[in-house]
């Protein structure tokens, strides 16, 4: 079976995000870069699928040179090879452009199942998987918490508001991973050693024949609105404090 996992490199969740004074982006200095946490679930599921059914896992990334480290992490977890789409032209590319680049690379290789994360925790747009599926002409199932391979189709659980759906879909298809899908493994030391020798094919926009678009563009980054300083409610005993809180929520904030 030919399995593809798309991984993005993102700032660690601990990162404090500071907007550049001119609003053109965020300050990247001091940021620790990691594999998007949702992509870890995708890579893990890909590896489990391979371990059970045989086949090969290919990691695909669009990103600057530093993103190679994230590809190597996935290879160290057990993936077989990588494709790194690395081109300064992709700075400021939008989700459509990113998906187009991924599609161009993936079209050139056999693919039965593609895993993406349900969203990247930096841009949070949660679009790339679905656009990629459309560009490849295959069905998608997004935000999946349980995955089962059943011969020529997959059966997955997708939680929605107030329900869970059991969905069936034939191969080839694209699945986006949600937390709960599995517990991703850590790369072992031998895994890390082996990963150094695994092949990673580096490509640019021209060699893939994609033009970089920005149909939707972040014109300005702005810091979040500051919250006014809150009130600490004092009182002699819990009952007094609780009563005062209830009063404030009702009379001042008017939310209960």
């Amino acid at each position: 079976m030919n399995i593809v996992a798309c991984v993005k490199q993102v700032p660690d969740t601990e990162a404090q995000i500071k907007v550049k004074p001119d609003g053109s982006g965020i300050e990247e200095g001091g940021i620790k870069w990691v594999m998007n946490p949702y992509d870890e679930f995708g890579v893990e599921e890909a590896l489990r699928l391979k371990e059970k059914n045989g086949g090969e896992v290919t990691i695909v990334n669009v990103g600057p040179a530093r993103a190679m480290e994230t590809i190597r992490t996935a290879l160290a977890m057990g993936a077989d090879k990588g494709i790194h789409i690395c081109d300064p032209a992709f700075d400021g590319a939008d989700a459509f452009a990113t998906a187009s680049a991924l599609a161009a690379a993936i079209k050139g290789i056999p693919h039965d199942i593609i895993f993406c994360g349900q969203r990247a925790i930096d841009d949070d747009s949660g679009q790339v998987g679905a656009i990629l599926a459309e560009l490849l002409g295959i069905p998608q199932i997004t935000v999946v918490t349980k995955f089962e391979f059943a011969g020529s189709s997959v059966k997955v659980i997708r939680p929605i508001e107030g329900a869970q759906l059991l969905i069936e879909c034939p191969l080839p298809c694209l699945v986006t991973a949600q937390k709960g899908l599995n517990e991703p493994r850590y790369a072992s030391l031998p895994g890390i050693m082996k990963a150094k020798k695994k092949p990673v094919d580096v490509k640019d926009a021209a060699s893939l024949g994609v033009t970089v678009t920005a149909n939707a563009r972040v014109a300005k980054f702005i810091p979040p609105p500051a919250r006014a300083a809150g009130k600490i409610i004092c009182g002699d005993d819990p009952a007094t404090k609780a009563r005062e809180l209830a009063r404030l929520l009702r009379e001042e904030a008017k939310v209960i």
């Binding site: 747009s125 459309e134 998608q140 199932i141």
Partner: protein, 325 residues
């Protein structure tokens, strides 16, 4: 020339989801600035009868595709139907809900319509005749102002943020044939396992009572459940509580859980780690109850109580009961 503000309305089992009215009202506001029409797309089976309700919230025309293949929702069928009617009518703006369904559908439509989408927006406006969409990025650690160079300019709106305002318009029904090709409908919903609690999902809840490691164990949540029942709130949790197995994954609030924006968020025994704050900072009113006065959650709280939550919550529940009686 692309014209008109369109929404994709969302219904389940023949009833509109609240987000549909939020979309309609927001579209009306934008369309009034542009002096254009508001149209809705409604897909499902046996739903023609409800279409007119959208008129109440400012929709001029409702394009309805009524087919058994459109119920329940699948990406294949709905994306094909919506893409068809949108291509035929060339709207300038297309709004969807940032609900589970809207997120799934909007992204697929970007691929079909070859355009741009701003996801999970908390504000949208018209600037220089075009859409300007404001959306949290990095789970709310910063915001982006998104502009578009293609049509339709697409945005998905975060549930519970945009008010639904009555503003009666015609809501005229226009039926269209989704022209679905059975060969293209690949995904099948085999089973819908409904959550029978009757509680609003965290992403749609008006009020959330959230508990962290300070709840001490799964039993601790009983007092939160009780408070939630009095307020009509939904119970949430920090990742520490979820990872400890005290609460289900679906309860997790934060950067790697649900991003929520209720009117009232009460954090109990939650320290306020950066990943948790990222998921709930856009709540309108935040209350923190924590025995540690230095806990970072207090930096985001409108009201804070520094005390033992096991003493405060039962008292607070009684107070709320009295007030709401």
């Amino acid at each position: 020339m692309a014209k008109g503000v369109w929404i994709v309305a969302e219904q389940r089992d023949g009833a509109f989801r609240k987000i549909s009215f939020e979309l309609a009202s927001t579209a009306r506001k934008l369309a009034d600035v542009l002096g254009e029409e508001v149209c809705a797309v409604l897909c499902g089976s046996g739903i023609e009868g409800i279409a007119g309700q959208l008129g109440k919230y400012g929709v001029d025309r409702v394009f309805v595709a009524d087919s058994p293949a459109l119920e329940p929702y699948t990406t294949d069928a709905h994306a094909a139907a919506v893409a068809k009617v949108v291509k035929e009518n060339d709207p300038a703006i297309l709004l969807l809900g940032a609900s589970t369904q809207g997120k799934d559908l909007s992204a697929r439509l970007v691929g079909k319509l070859v355009t741009g989408l701003a996801t999970d927006c908390t504000d949208v406006k018209i600037a220089d005749g075009k859409l300007l969409a404001i959306r949290p990025m990095y789970a709310g650690k910063c915001f982006g102002e998104v502009v578009f160079s293609t049509f339709p300019q697409m945005a998905s709106l975060r549930p519970n943020v945009f008010p639904a305002v009555e503003n009666a318009k015609a809501g005229a029904v226009v039926k269209f044939d989704p022209a679905l090709d059975a060969g293209q409908l690949k995904t099948k919903v085999l089973e819908v396992q409904k959550d029978t609690s009757g509680k609003a999902d965290l992403t749609e809840a008006n009020m959330i009572v959230s508990g962290g490691r300070g709840m001490k164990g799964p039993e601790g949540y009983a007092i939160l459940e009780e408070l939630a029942a009095v307020l009509g709130a939904t119970v949430g949790a920090s990742r520490a509580a979820v990872d400890a197995g005290w609460r289900p994954q679906s309860d997790q609030v934060g950067q790697t859980g649900k991003i929520v924006s209720p009117n009232l968020y009460i954090a109990c025994g939650v320290s306020g780690a950066i990943q948790h704050l990222a998921g709930m900072s856009s709540s309108k009113i935040i209350v923190a109850i924590n025995k540690d006065a230095e806990a970072p959650i207090f930096t985001k709280a409108d009201y804070g109580i520094v005390d033992d939550l096991f003493k405060i919550i039962p008292e607070f529940t009684q107070e709320c009961k009295k007030l709401l009686a």
